[in-house]
């Protein structure tokens, strides 16, 4: 039984509002899609709509942060991270302003709306900004933990909130620490390092590999920045190869971050499953994942090349 990541976000906001009176939420006419409406209905005085004006959305939230508030900013990832990029750079990150971005509709899972609305480059854009922390939850419970952790960090945080309802692979009790990747399943032959929705897919790929007698570890990198470099080095040494799995361009996201850690290691063993250098298009999320190779079968294929 799956649960919505976006609803987790809206519910987490309401939970934070109970104990943090500095929390305010800003949106750009997408509250019914980002699920900030869950918060707005309960706390209308703490919700600020800035209309369809994403650059201004980010700038206004920054002003609120400078007054001591903790603003969460939501819109679609492409318009928040893309259109408002330079405001995030110069007004927010440049001075470590305490603004939180929970941007939804990231990746191909946006589906039918097509390539113009599928952010496959948001992690790359956010990764190059000093001071930015980047979190990518894999399911409902982890989304709540990411949102709550973000509210406690003094500085900008980017949370990638995927659109779909997904299977629960963590529980309320699963430990969560920013910057510390999670071993979902241990193994010794190959290691799938995944983030976001690809964590669930990687677990399926691991099952397929194990059925063939191949021992496969699955690591959940819910924190893209700061990346848990220690676990990357550990599994790079321990296994015959690492496959980075992400619903993002192969340029600039998790795969690139892992490659930066193991660059220069003699006999580096690294492969990527991600969106090749092209834009998305319309289709159901599953059809798109199939078309772009974001499947368990593709992960298995890449992993086997190391054996």
């Amino acid at each position: 039984m799956g649960k919505s990541i976006r609803i987790a976000y809206g519910e987490a906001l309401n939970e934070i509002a109970e104990y943090n009176d500095k929390l305010v939420v800003c949106d750009a006419d997408l509250g019914h899609a980002t699920m900030t409406n869950i918060f707005a209905e309960k706390h209308p005085d703490r919700f600020f709509n800035f209309g369809i004006a994403e650059c201004n959305l980010v700038a206004e939230a920054t002003g609120m942060a400078h007054a001591g508030l903790v603003p969460f900013v939501s819109t679609f990832a492409l318009f928040g991270a893309g259109r408002a990029y330079e405001i995030i750079r110069n007004s927010v990150c440049y001075v470590n302003a305490n603004v939180k971005f929970a941007l939804t509709h990231s990746g191909l899972c946006v589906g039918e709306d097509g390539g113009s609305h599928q952010a496959i480059e948001d992690l790359a854009l956010m990764r190059v900004l000093p001071h930015m922390t980047i979190l990518v939850p894999c399911d409902y419970e982890q989304t709540k933990k990411c949102v709550k952790a973000a509210a406690e960090i003094d500085g900008p945080v980017y949370i990638r909130v995927a659109r779909p309802v997904v299977d629960e692979i963590t529980t309320a009790e699963t430990p969560f620490e920013v910057g510390k990747a999670q071993v979902m399943k241990d193994g010794t032959d190959v290691c799938l390092m995944a983030t976001g929705l690809m964590v669930g897919t990687a677990l399926k790929a691991a099952e397929m590999l194990e059925a063939e007698g191949i021992s496969c570890a699955v690591i959940n990198h819910h924190t893209i920045k700061p990346l848990d470099a220690e676990i990357v080095r550990k599994y790079h040494e321990k296994c015959k190869g690492i496959v980075a799995c992400e619903e993002h361009s192969i340029y600039g996201g998790l795969g690139s971050a892992i490659a930066e850690v193991i660059a220069g290691v003699p006999g580096g063993k690294f492969a990527q499953v991600g969106v090749m250098d092209k834009f998305g298009k319309s289709g159901t999320p599953d059809a798109l994942f199939e078309a772009y190779g974001l499947t368990a079968e593709h992960m298995v294929e890449e992993a086997k090349k190391f054996l």
Partner: protein, 266 residues
Amino acid sequence: MVLQEKAAELRGDIVKMIHAAGSGHPGGSLSVIDILVALYYNVMKVDPKNPHWEDRDRLVLSKGHACPALYAVLADKGYFPKEDLATLRKIDSHLQGHPDMKKTPGVDLNTGSLGQGVAVATGMAIAAKYLKKNYHVYAIVGDGEIQEGLVWEAAMAAAHYKLDNLTVILDHNGLQIDGTNDEVMSLGDPVEKYKAFGFECFTVNGHDIDAITKVCKTPVHGRPKFICAETIKGKGVSFMENNAGWHGKAPSAEEVAKALAELEVK
């Protein structure tokens, strides 16, 4: 000292500091200085000994490239020693080429990427309303700057949220890097535009400190205020006046001497 003399002295500081830096923006600094003098000496509630005082009025120099003018005022008010002005734009100086709120005492917002300052200032004013604080936010924009779409997104929000604790002041000197506003991208009538967006609008001589003070102190309720300050780029230094060439160029030693003589300051 009367404030006109104060402004002349600060004009001297601007010219000297940009010369010492070897680069910077004298034209817009000289056009905005009287507005800053009016605000810091007559209007704003600030405490130089406590630059982060929560209830202070905020000044956002959205046209951040004119920061030599702001630095001259802040030094004179005692936020930091006047000698620091000679370190402008140099390595390890707290006086960056564009304002940095984390480095310079008294700078309320990092600005310089045009259009952003006034929008963040609007957010500061929304926060004041939300937190039931009485501070006022003053944002100074350049006329070239209002070609940025973000300026108008922020204006729409300021009216929507009825921000009578926000004043947007336009330093209307008519010139930008590539020439006059009309040659580059016509502004039309900024007063009519801000009026259409829902602001209470005023026009003032941007070099008349008393007049600027008066219009800043005129109360407005339920809507933001817009002041179109008519100014002269390079004001006070004859060879820089109304010359777009002095937008972003440092004066030579001889030019500094000539400017100081004209300003009758040392």
